[in-house]
């Protein structure tokens, strides 16, 4: 542990930590919306297909991040066009995912650069992040936070209660589309840290853990960001003395948080259920006398 100050003095560690922090905040913020909207498969689909974009970017001149970003935005558009209703949407994602991954494998076959580039896309490699990449990650993270802050109330309304939200004038379809684009950018960012295959561990697991512990949307959002930060930064630091990728530790910490939340959760929800049960004893709700 006395190695920590030494690690923290290294520029590549500082860069990686900064990148992980930016990514964790963005992923932690969007996570609760993924949970409420039941969009886990959209996250996975976008992430997998940003792999195809990254492979294309790599092939066209070593721009994996730019390729992944463009690819995920295209994919979000395809999801939005093909699937409107939730059930339709998952089917559409499955269809696009199958084709897109095949295309990615083909593109990677054409690439004759370093083989590690491909595994970095799939499993993450944050320590190689360059200055310009860091700036791009920072800009994207700030953009994601700004958009989520801007649409927070109406997006939550539209996600929780779409019928009444629409009646109250919330542009639910437009917000659904905006959500998919913000998700695409977040997922691409997250993939830089944990890889496209492991994005779910930062974009869903922290929010899933948080929603086990509270029913207040703001508390869930706060806990989700906190859990994502602990997993991303903690996993990164934990990986330093080892030969393993940071994503191994990030996913492990993230999952451990979830397990702990599941264990602690019942006590929290039992309290809430007791309150609800006490409320049901409300005498004004007793059924009327028959006949």
């Amino acid at each position: 542990m006395n190695l920590l100050p030494f690690y923290l003095s290294l520029p590549f560690v500082q860069h990686a930590l900064l990148a992980a922090t930016l990514v964790a905040v963005a992923a932690g913020l969007i996570g609760p919306f993924v949970v409420v909207r039941g969009a886990a498969f959209a996250v996975h689909g976008t992430a997998e297909l940003s792999f195809t974009g990254a492979a294309a970017g790599l092939l066209l001149g070593g721009h994996a991040l730019a390729g992944a970003l463009i690819g995920s935005l295209l994919v979000a558009t395809a999801f939005a066009v093909l699937g409107d209703k939730a059930r339709e949407r998952d089917t559409a994602i499955g269809v696009v995912l199958g084709f897109g991954l095949g295309l990615g494998v083909y593109l990677l076959g054409l690439y004759h650069g370093f083989a590690t580039e491909a595994t970095n896309i799939l499993f993450g490699q944050i320590f190689g992040v360059s200055g310009p990449q860091l700036v791009l990650l920072g800009v994207l993270a700030v953009a994601v936070m700004a958009v989520i802050g801007w649409v927070y109330r109406p997006l939550l309304f539209a996600s929780v209660d779409p019928r009444v939200a629409a009646a109250r004038g919330v542009p639910t379809r437009l917000l659904g589309l905006a959500f998919l684009y913000v998700l695409a950018v977040t997922v691409t960012e997250t993939a830089q840290v944990v890889g496209t295959l492991l994005v779910l561990s930062l974009a869903i697991t922290p929010a899933a853990a948080a929603s086990r512990l509270s029913s207040s949307p703001l508390v869930v959002a706060g806990l989700s960001v906190l859990f994502a930060l602990v997993a991303a930064d903690g996993g990164l630091l934990a990986s330093l003395p080892t030969n393993q990728r940071a994503s191994v530790f990030i996913t492990a910490i993230s999952f451990a948080t979830y397990v702990l939340a599941r264990v602690a959760g019942p006590a929290v929800t039992r309290r809430a259920r007791d309150r609800a049960a006490a409320a049901s004893a409300d005498p004004t709700l007793l059924p009327g006398v028959s006949g």
Binding site: V35, F157, A167, R168, G169, S215, A272
Partner: protein, 285 residues
């Protein structure tokens, strides 16, 4: 009694989707404090009427005002209560949050109602008797409790016009009474106009001032006693329809192509005889 203020006006109003005309040339004024029940078979355009008043669907012809203005999306002087529907489990949302959304959930850029908003949410929760389970996850509440929250959500912005789309559907009798009583209380206190879409007149009959009955492009308006007659409904349906008064209930027999809408079969959740209900003048025949 001075002349009450008009809250909703429709003048020569028609709504058509492509070739299909839902209703046409509707002239209607709903005054402050008035309770208008909107009835008719499935597909008659009842919900579409609410959609017009919410500013979500434009009229094909004619004009409409809500609280003196053209309908606008997200207008704070309009409240909306949907039919009860189960809230999915796992939803990290409390009753308090659901009600809050009725106040500022449509506002962008985090411009919430702030501290005064919290007080208004508390007041709305207390008004519908939901204060005790306000902090419980919505998914853990019963259908009746959730529907009380829906009422609070619609009333928290203190609307001058309250639009209800089958709010009693799938509620048991006790909760039907609670929800109608809460809507009625707001109408009396705030002088709100209530447009209440329903396929069953009986649960709200004691409260209804007038009925708008839509059938296949035609419409009829008047007090329940005027609209619910064998002659009036037969003319509206263009087919022989019998209207019976059984104790203080109205039973419509033989209305063609009405699906489940008031064709005389008894819903188990309905009172066979509602001994303890309030009556407004001339309710029973």
């Amino acid at each position: 009694m001075s002349a009450p203020q008009p809250r909703v006006t429709l003048t020569g109003a028609s709504l058509a989707y492509g070739q299909r005309t839902l209703w046409h040339d509707v002239d209607l004024t709903v005054s402050a404090g008035e309770f208008l029940a909107v009835l008719g078979p499935n597909g008659a355009g009842k919900t579409s009427l609410l959609s017009v008043l919410l500013g979500l669907t434009p009229l094909s012809a004619g004009s409409v005002t809500v609280n003196g203005h053209a309908p606008a999306r997200g207008a704070s002087h309009v409240g909306y209560i949907p039919q009860q529907s189960a809230v999915e489990s796992d939803l990290p949302v409390r009753g308090r949050d659901l009600v809050r959304m009725g106040l500022d959930g449509h506002r962008f850029a985090g411009r919430g109602a702030g501290r005064s908003g919290r007080a208004r949410v508390d007041a709305a929760l207390a008004a519908v008797g939901a204060a005790r389970y306000a902090d419980a996850p919505v998914a853990l509440l019963s259908g009746g409790e959730q529907q009380r929250l829906r009422v609070a959500q619609a009333l928290v912005a203190d609307p001058a016009v309250l639009l209800c789309d089958e709010p009693l559907l799938s509620l048991d009798l006790a909760n039907q009474r609670t929800v109608t009583a809460l809507i009625d209380a707001h109408r009396r206190r705030a002088g709100a106009a209530v447009l209440f879409v329903t396929h069953e007149i009986n649960p709200v009959l004691p409260l209804v001032d007038r009925v708008l009955y839509l059938v296949a492009g035609r419409w009829s308006i008047g007090t329940p006693d005027e609209v619910f007659t064998t002659e009036s409904l037969s003319a509206l349906y263009g087919a022989p329809v019998d209207v019976l008064r059984v104790r203080d209930r109205i039973v419509v027999v033989g209305a063609p192509d009405t699906g489940h809408s008031g064709d005389g079969h008894d819903h188990p959740e309905e009172p066979a005889a509602a001994g303890g209900r309030r009556h407004r003048g001339g309710g029973s025949g």
